[in-house]
Each structure stands twice: as structure tokens, then as C-alpha cells.
Symmetry: C2
Subunit: 406 residues, 2 copies
């Protein structure tokens, strides 16, 4: 029972049915390719005539192409259709605290090239550097006319409509309009998004199981901070002021360590990489001190995971405590949003086989129903570059999104 937004609605015109059906058709091709026109007609329960008409439109504008005919047990051999992805490219950019990643990939998320450089925290400087690198990257890979846009992923809150970064503490950005600056500098269409939401979008649009992908899920990122991208009813949740998804500051213990946000005992103060590291080093978590300690000891979360894997008890214990607290946080998500599944991204996924039992124990104890306790947790390894895939999805998904109606 969705309510119609009578402030800003889209009325149906003569061509609305066609737009809707065209979009349904395109999505069916995307999720079932290769597929024939006759198959599409059966799935949509429309006549083959309409499919012919819609497909010729999609072929004309380059969204879909005809492959080969294939064998059939009887009758005329069907002509298979595919979504055109391999020569429609996107530049994905992932701006992180220390380094910035640049990836050229096609609409399906398949990577073509990647480069990386030290993050320039000054927005104008970053845009200038990207303005140098992007044309060079496109030239090197003979992709000059094929780029459909730039997806920019940022560690912080983003207003998707205005394109402004509201607050990115790791970069020290507040109310920065890097999207329009980059668009003006490069001439490309630029879309910007917060990192956990981008990761969720990548799962939604470029995930393994195309059609099976759930319409209600959560992507939890555990790195310097802890955040989440929420998907409800096939759509990302941004909230009223684009600040939804901050699960890092769910309270765990009012007497716990002080968090960056000023409260005590936030989930993030227990499970962020910094928190795990400081626990391993035997110190109470405290933002300022821990950063210093980290710089001195020159140890990273990956090292702790490696040491745990090689049998070091202290490393293993530090990680297991992180796992237990993460379990509490995930249980909150499960009880409040009841997602079909939860993806977990971040460095700690490398230790998933070790941490998973502890996490599930906590969830089993805290989930309110047995079905909720069985919510699948799916680690998303850093090796698949989830944020860069998310950046790609920002551009690629627009072509497949449902038309806005009513």
C-alpha cells in the first residue's frame, strides 16, 4: 500500500505503458540473457508482436544486441538477445583515507584497468588530479568515446540529489560539492554516493545471482568506521537528510570505551579496525591515542588476521571479541529490519572462517525468531573491490532502474 507523493508525482502519459514495459523487458534480458523474443513474450505474458517492437527499439538505441541463433528441438531456431555491456564503460572512483582507487570497467562490473594514488584531501586538488588521470586512462585503453560516466564513492554522508558531501570526517570534508566540480572538470556525468550504500547497490545490480538477489538486505561495512547500506523493497534507504545507515553508533555498553562520536560503547568503538587493533595491542580504545599507537607500531588489521591464522592466541582473542560485538550489532539489524540477508564487507572478511561461528552464536542468542536467527551472513571479500563495483553501479544501474511512476 504505497502512498502516492502528491507533492512530486509523475502522471502517466500515452507513452508511459511503453516505458514501463520497455524497462521490464530490458531487465528480463539482463537477468536471463541469452534469451529469445519468444521466451520474453512468455515471461511477460504478452504477444510476441509487442516484444518484437520493444526489442527493435532497444537494439536501435544500443541497449541490447542480437547474438546467435541456437538449436531448438523443433521449429524455427530462436535468435538470442543480450544486454550490451562490454563496450559501455564506467570509471569508478573510491576515495579512501590514505589512497584513492580508480577503475575502468564495463556495465557488467567487469574490470578493465585499475590505478591508485595517494588521496589528496583538498577537494580542488583531488579534482585536478582526476582531471589529469581520467583522460589518460581512457586513452590508454582506447575507451575515449565509450565512457558513460563517473561513479564516485566517498567515506561519508552524501546528499545524492544535490551531489554534496555533507560530512566525511576521514577526509575532513563538510558540505563539499565535489560532484559538480568533477563533472565540470571532466565533462562526464558524475554520480556520487556514500560507501556502504554504494556497496549495497553493487550487490543489488551487479551481484552474483542476478534475479535471485533479494529486495530486502543490508550491506555492513567494517573498516575505519562501521556503516551500513540498507535496501528495503528493492530500493536504497537514504533517510530524510541522507544520513540513514549509521549503524556504527548503536550502543553496546554505556560503560564502554569512548567513541569518536562522543558517546561511550558504540558498536564502532568495539568492532572497527582501529578498535580491534588497539585491543590486540592491549590498550583501551580511544580515538586519538589509538591513531598514534598505530603509527608507532606500524601494524595493520591484516597483520592481526595473519597472526591469528598462524596461531597467535592474542590476535585470535582480539578478533573473537570483535566478532562477538559485531554479532550484537548484526542482531540489532536483524531484529529491526528483518533483511533477507546481510553482506559484510571489510578487512575482517579475510578471517571469516574463524569469526563466523562466534558471530552466529551471538545472533542465535539474540534474534527474536528462529527464521531471523537463520538470516544468511555473506562475507564480501575486499579482493572483489566492492566499493569500486558500487561506483560502477551508480552509473550502470540507472539504465535498468524502474521508471518513476505515480
Amino acid at each position: 500500500m504505497r502512498k502516492i507523493n502528491t507533492r512530486s508525482f509523475v502522471r502517466a502519459t500515452r507513452s508511459t505503458p511503453r516505458e514501463i514495459n520497455r524497462q521490464i523487458l530490458l531487465n528480463l534480458v539482463r537477468e536471463h540473457q541469452p534469451i529469445s523474443r519468444a521466451d520474453l513474450a512468455r515471461r511477460m505474458r504478452v504477444g510476441r508482436g509487442m516484444v518484437t517492437s520493444l526489442v527493435s527499439e532497444l537494439i536501435a538505441d544500443g541497449s541490447v544486441y542480437e547474438g546467435t541463433t541456437v538449436d531448438a528441438p523443433r521449429g524455427r531456431r530462436p535468435m538470442m538477445l543480450h544486454v550490451r555491456t562490454h563496450d559501455r564503460l564506467v570509471i569508478g572512483i573510491d576515495v579512501r583515507f590514505s589512497r584513492t582507487y580508480l577503475m575502468l570497467s564495463d556495465f557488467s562490473g567487469t574490470p578493465i584497468a585499475m590505478e591508485t594514488f595517494d588521496t589528496i584531501v583538498d577537494p580542488a586538488g583531488l579534482v585536478a588530479e582526476l582531471r589529469r588521470r581520467i583522460p589518460r586512462l581512457l586513452k590508454t585503453y582506447k575507451a575515449v568515446g565509450k565512457c558513460n560516466g563517473i561513479g564516485l564513492v566517498v567515506p561519508g554522508m552524501v546528499d545524492r540529489r544535490t551531489g554534496r558531501v555533507l560530512n566525511a570526517p576521514q577526509l575532513g570534508w563538510r558540505d563539499v560539492d565535489v560532484r559538480d566540480q568533477l563533472a565540470a572538470a571532466t565533462g562526464f556525468d558524475v554520480q556520487i554516493e556514500n560507501a556502504p550504500i554504494a556497496c549495497a547497490l553493487a550487490q543489488m545490480w551487479l551481484g552474483q545471482r542476478g534475479g535471485d538477489a533479494p529486495r530486502d538486505f543490508v550491506y555492513v561495512t567494517v573498516s575505519d568506521g562501521v556503516g551500513a547500506g540498507l535496501v528495503v523493497n528493492g530500493e536504497v534507504v537514504r533517510g530524510h537528510n541522507s544520513t540513514a545507515g549509521e549503524f556504527g553508533h548503536v550502543p553496546i555498553d554505556p560503560h564502554g570505551p569512548t567513541c569518536l562520536c562522543g558517546s561511550r560503547g558504540c558498536l564502532e568503538a568495539y568492532t572497527s579496525n582501529l578498535a580491534t587493533l588497539s585491543r590486540y595491542l592491549g590498550h583501551e580504545f580511544s580515538p586519538a591515542e589509538t591513531r598514534e599507537l598505530l603509527n608507532e607500531s606500524r601494524i595493520s588489521i591484516t597483520d592481526v588476521i595473519a597472526r591469528a591464522r598462524s596461531g597467535e592466541a592474542r590476535a585470535s582473542a582480539a578478533l573473537h571479541e570483535t566478532a562477538r560485538h559485531l554479532g550484537v550489532g548484526l542482531a540489532v539489524i536483524i531484529n529491526t529490519l528483518n533483511p533477507a540477508q546481510i553482506f559484510v564487507g571489510g578487512e575482517i572478511t579475510e578471517a571469516w572462517d574463524q569469526l563466523s561461528p562466534a558471530i552466529h552464536d551471538i545472533i542465535n542468542a539474540r534474534a527474536l525468531t528462529s527464521t531471523a536467527a537463520a538470516t544468511p551472513l555473506i562475507p564480501d571479500p575486499a579482493s572483489s573491490y566492492p566499493r569500486l563495483r558500487g561506483a560502477t553501479a551508480l552509473i550502470a544501474a540507472r539504465e535498468f532502474a524502474a521508471p518513476q511512476v505515480a
Copy 2:
């Protein structure tokens, strides 16, 4: 960028544009009545011809009626249109732990009659009692042919599609199909929903400010349990297994009192009416003991509020601690979902003027942005019967909901 559900989608037919525009028009009349055809045409940015055609359809099926013409500075006087509500009735039923409430009201939520009886926990017995009472109620108020359906609100998890009550601990119901039983017994269309979600639906469809009503908000109920109805993007969040909204079990303190759910220090164990009562009585909260204590002392949360209002320090202190913990819980909702506003329902709204400052203090301390900290909290007094209004909305809203497309 909503994703099309390719498992179950609705393709656009020849009549889809008309359905969409018809529904937009009906909602515009609902939110701006009285309104003329010419005004509607301007708002929808369509020709007046189309409005004439759509309105005559809506009048023919009784959704809309013509009122009177009104004065105009120049030109022909416009004929005002209204949504027909006063002779389209709904029976709302609110099943609570001790008593069940029955209300006859019209489509706008205006109450016509109400009765109440001791809750019969046996589902078959309850249905039998309702089967006796409903025809009598309709007869008494000369509403026999005018009832459009029955809305049933239950304190527990409900699968809206199958109509089964999955788990209602207060009633001891597990997997009960009371909806179909009641439909068979009465011959009416019956819709069933969980209480906090129903309260959210009431705000969405029957709220004060018709069009201003936000599309992202949360309705938090504080009574025997603590739950929430979530609305995201103009649609209610039910989750993958219809168990979303259980905010009562976010952790507050791992060393806190034991909760009914088995964990320790849940929000509910600090802020439910039972928790507040046991705090007032000077006892550690513990489900079993507290219930006994409550029966012995014969005191209710309303009494505690009255005593606080008359200046009793102990009552005031007990309520203020509840307020502080509730603030923590609301901050979790604000940080994770960033709603435009939060409604709070339950007995403690009677003490809102006393509790509000404490709640806001906590939220100001814990909200991650200043805009989030300013999220309006709106008490919804029990005197407006939010759950019964929700029951009404279950039936009335279907007429106005956006058509399912793509």
C-alpha cells in the same frame, strides 16, 4: 533507482495510464478537498478534458461526490469535489492483552461507535464473540450495507499476505489464521496487521496534515512491549519474514536487567510500562516477578504518571529514567533510519511535557548530525485510539494506495 522485481512484476497494459492517473486524481481530491476539476487539471498538468472523464468515473463508482459550487472572482463558478467517506464504514478491532476494542468509523477515521469486552484468548472463541457483536453493532447504527471491511490489529508479528499471526506472546498465539476465520464467520473482507505498523499506517493515511505527512517516519509504541512501525519511501517496512520493527530489543546495557527475550538490558527492559512500574516499586525488572508484583500492588503506569504530576519525587524519578533510556533507543532509530519525524504512542505520552526535555537531551548528545538531533518527536495520545485508527486505515487506505506497476 528502484529495482524491478522480475519474479513478480505487473506489466503495463492499455489501461495502466488510466489507473495511475485515476489514483493520482483520487489522492489529490483526498488531500485538497474541496477542490474543483479545473484546479485538479492545473495540479496534474493535464487538460481539463481528462479530469472530466476521470472524475465522472470516480463519481460513478462512488469514490467521489460533487458538493456545491462556490463563489469565484470572475467566470463560471467551480463545482467542488469531495471524497466520499461518511457513508463508507469500517469496523476496526484492537485485540489487546486484557481487553478487545471494537470501533465503527468511516473512511476518514471519524469514530461512530465503540464497544469493548474482555479479550478471549482462544482464537475460535474470539471469532465467535466478534461474529455476535459485529452484526449487532452494524444494525444498531443502521450501517448494515455500508461496511467495507474489518481491520484487525494484533500485538504481535503478522504475515500480511497469508493473514496468519506468526507470534503474539501476549495472547499466546503462534501461527494462527484468525483473519480467514473471521472473514468466513462474518462474510466481510478482513485485513490484519501488527499494532505498531497499524499505528504508522494511521499516521500515513489518516494523519492530521494530509499532504504534509512525511514519507519517511517511524511510529514507536511504548506499552507492555516496545515496538516500531517503519515507513520508508511512503511504504511500510515489513521485512523478509514480516518481523521488522522490533526495536524493543536493541541493547542498552549488557549488564542490565533480564528481558523477556532472554537477553539482558534490552530497551524494552528499561522503558516498557512494566519496567517503569517495577522501577517505581523499587525492584529490579524481571518479567515473572514484576507481573506478580503488579497484580499485588494494583498500580498501573497511569497511576505513576498521575503521582509524578502531583509532585511525588519517586514517581517522577522512575519516569525520568524511562525517558533517558527511551532517548537512547530513539537515537538509535534516528541514526540508523534518519526519519523525518518520530511518533511516540503509549501511556507515557500523557507525561510527555515532563519527559520530553530528558529525551531530547539524550538525543542531542547521541545524534550524529545536528539536523538528525532536531528530528521532531510527536506524542500520539491514547485518547485518539491510534490502534483503532490503524485498523480503519487497513481497509480505507487500499482505495487510495498507488497502483502496483513494474
